[in-house]
């Protein structure tokens, strides 16, 4: 087992730090259905952590627990060394956890720029009266945050659609805009819910490159859910495998791939 303060060095030589987020014995029920059963794992500074599993394994529920949308009946969530009290999702976001969604959840009536600017809400400190006057603090704040947003827009190569209403964009670009909105928050932990769902190979390659670049350039800690095994094995440093709400594997891609229980869950077991 890894020590909580010490880090480790990945196969490609990146230095991974201490624990950012720790889930302790999380259990989540919806009425009689147990979506997550007694799961514990940690996410470390600077790593790319994947959560995989067959359909209905509870991966998205897990992400929703981390982002505060679901409150687990049992267990504790520790973030940066302190136990997180029950809080509303927007408070979790203000703590520095940003996410994207499995079904794109962009604000369709707004331009790409406005969508990404919304990601920087946590940095907006002026009150409504200053904003109504505009000149002065509100304008300065707008320009300052616009600069930060433009860097993200450059980084993800979406300059050309800056002023386009999101509703006019194709699927792949929407996914990228959603990533931009999450990145604009400069999160301490970035959650990606199936960032490559429904993409063709080329788009998947682009997205993989962006995820690696984000991790590399900004040092962002990333937790992602993905179904494409090739992508998961290539991108992630450590993998949690879930099945029927339980954790059945946890470790490096290599360890997980050779885990008998994981192979059974994916390929099925013969019952003769």
């Amino acid at each position: 087992m890894l020590d909580s303060a010490e880090g480790y060095v990945t196969e490609d030589g990146r230095k991974i730090g201490g624990v950012v987020m720790e889930m302790k014995n999380i259990t989540l029920r919806f009425g009689g259905v147990v979506a997550i059963k007694d799961i514990s794992f940690d996410i470390r500074e600077g790593e790319i952590r994947a959560i995989i599993g067959p359909n209905g394994a509870g991966k998205s529920s897990m992400l929703n627990v981390i982002s505060g949308f679901y409150v687990p009946q049992e267990g504790e969530v520790w973030f940066h060394g302190s136990k997180r009290p029950p809080m509303r999702p927007y408070e979790v976001a203000q703590q520095g956890i940003a996410r994207t969604f499995q079904n794109i959840a962009l604000f369709e009536g707004m331009s790409v720029l406005d969508n990404v600017m919304t990601g920087r809400l946590g940095y907006m400190k002026t009150n409504i009266f200053q904003q109504a006057l505009w000149k002065g603090k509100a304008e300065a704040e707008e320009v300052e945050n616009r600069e930060a947003v433009e860097k993200i827009i450059d980084f993800l190569e979406i300059q050309h659609i800056r002023k386009t209403p999101v509703s006019r964009l194709p699927y792949g670009l929407k996914k990228r805009v959603e990533l931009a909105r999450a990145l604009a928050a400069e999160p301490r932990l970035l959650l990606l819910d199936e960032p490559m769902a429904g993409m063709n190979v080329e788009e998947k390659e682009d997205m993989s490159r962006f995820i690696l670049d984000v991790n590399d350039e900004f040092g962002t800690t990333i937790a992602l859910i993905e179904h494409d095994m090739g992508v998961v094995m290539d991108l992630s440093d450590r993998v949690v495998v879930m099945d029927y709400g339980r954790k059945i594997g946890d470790g490096t891609p290599h360890e997980v791939r050779n885990n008998q229980e994981v192979i059974d869950a994916y390929l099925g077991v013969s019952h003769d």
Partner: protein
């Protein structure tokens, strides 16, 4: 051809986020302002002021207010008439209690009182959405009208149950009452409209506007990325009611002079302002102007064309107006939910390339 943005380069984010980023638009805006402030007051007469300009200015303020709530924040409200009544009665109480204070202050305070009432009636929006919220605001509409009818304190125990605006002035110029000159009432309302439009634009292009639109477009995602829904919805109710309250105060004190609450601020008023923003364009400041202008102009145009020029009976013309408005509402809802503002936007896109569309 007419409409060019070529060569109009922005070198700073300040330039890029201004209200009229295109030079042509900016100059047109200055011209409109110059005409409205510098020329119209000198040529205005009582007929023009009372039939067209005052109702347009005041309804435009109300439409901007309602558009912030419905068009930008997505919270449907049918309580506009009731909130206008709050502004009118607050203004009346202030005018009679403090006769020496400037009308500017009274109207602003009336807006403030309405903002507080608006927030109170906006509280249910935290739990209910859409159709059910509309019904809750409908309850506000009927409750407020009932309240102003039944509690004599609000109309200073007058025998008729009406409120009458006493004569008040701003810097020595009479603004309210029968002796107010047309140009003064016009300018007074115009100043408020200009202020409200600029404030609304500043709010909607900045952080507050983005939180409103985020709640409108997808409230759950908005909360997960850090929008406080309580704050976003209640600020929308407060700002919206502030504008509607100002409109109500002006409607009573400057335009009508005497008000019987059930007649003037009934449910018809709520629908009228709602129709203005639907026809004008939801989520657009320009649309609020366009919708108000359209619905103020329509009856006048119909009367001039139908009754005066073609000689139709006046009752047919009056009913024709209802038919036309109804048909237009249905047409806009089906064909162009973003209203006149969107038609204008499309026209501009076409004009950019005209006469060589390829």
């Amino acid at each position: 051809m007419f409409y060019r943005e070529a060569g109009d380069f922005k070198t700073s984010y300040t330039d890029d986020s201004q209200t009229f980023p295109i030079k042509f638009d900016r100059y047109r805006y200055y011209v409109v302002l110059a005409v409205a402030f510098g020329i119209v007051p000198f040529i205005i007469n009582d007929y023009w002021a009372n039939a067209l300009l005052l109702p347009f200015l005041i309804y435009a303020i109300a439409a901007i207010g309602l558009n912030i709530l419905v068009g930008y924040c997505g919270q449907v409200s049918l309580g506009t008439g009731g909130f206008m009544a709050v502004g009118a009665y607050a203004c009346y109480k202030l005018m009679t209690a403090f006769p020496d204070v400037s009308m500017f202050i009274h109207v602003l305070l009336a807006g403030g009182v309405t903002a507080i009432v608006g927030v109170l009636f906006g509280l249910p929006s935290l739990r209910i959405k859409g159709f059910y919220l509309a019904v809750a605001t409908l309850a506000a509409q009927f409750f407020l009208v009932w309240l102003f009818n039944r509690v004599p304190w609000f109309y200073n125990y007058s025998a008729s149950g009406q409120i009458n605006a006493p004569e008040r002035d701003v810097f020595g110029i009479i603004i309210t009452g029968p002796n107010a000159p047309a140009w003064a009432t016009y300018l007074f309302c115009l100043i408020f409209l200009a202020l409200c439009a600029v404030l609304a634009r500043n709010l909607t292009r900045g952080t507050t506007g983005r939180t409103w639109m985020a709640i409108r477009d997808m409230d759950i995602a908005a909360e997960i990325i850090g929008v406080n829904p309580l704050k976003a919805k209640l600020t929308a109710f407060a700002v919206s009611s502030f504008f509607i309250g100002i409109a109500g105060a002006l409607f009573f004190a400057v335009y009508l002079g005497a008000v019987e609450v059930g007649e003037v601020f009934g449910i018809q008023k709520s629908f009228l302002v709602l129709f203005m923003i639907i026809i004008g364009g939801l989520g657009s400041i320009f649309g609020s102007f366009a919708g108000a202008a359209f619905l103020v102009l329509l009856p006048v145009v119909l009367k001039v064309v139908g009754a005066d020029m073609l000689g139709w009976p006046t009752d047919i013309v009056a009913h024709l107006q209802l038919v036309i408005v109804g048909a237009l509402i249905i047409m806009f809802l089906i064909l162009e939910p973003h209203g006149l503002a969107q038609l204008w936007r499309v026209a501009k896109e076409k004009l950019r390339l005209w006469p060589f569309p390829h």
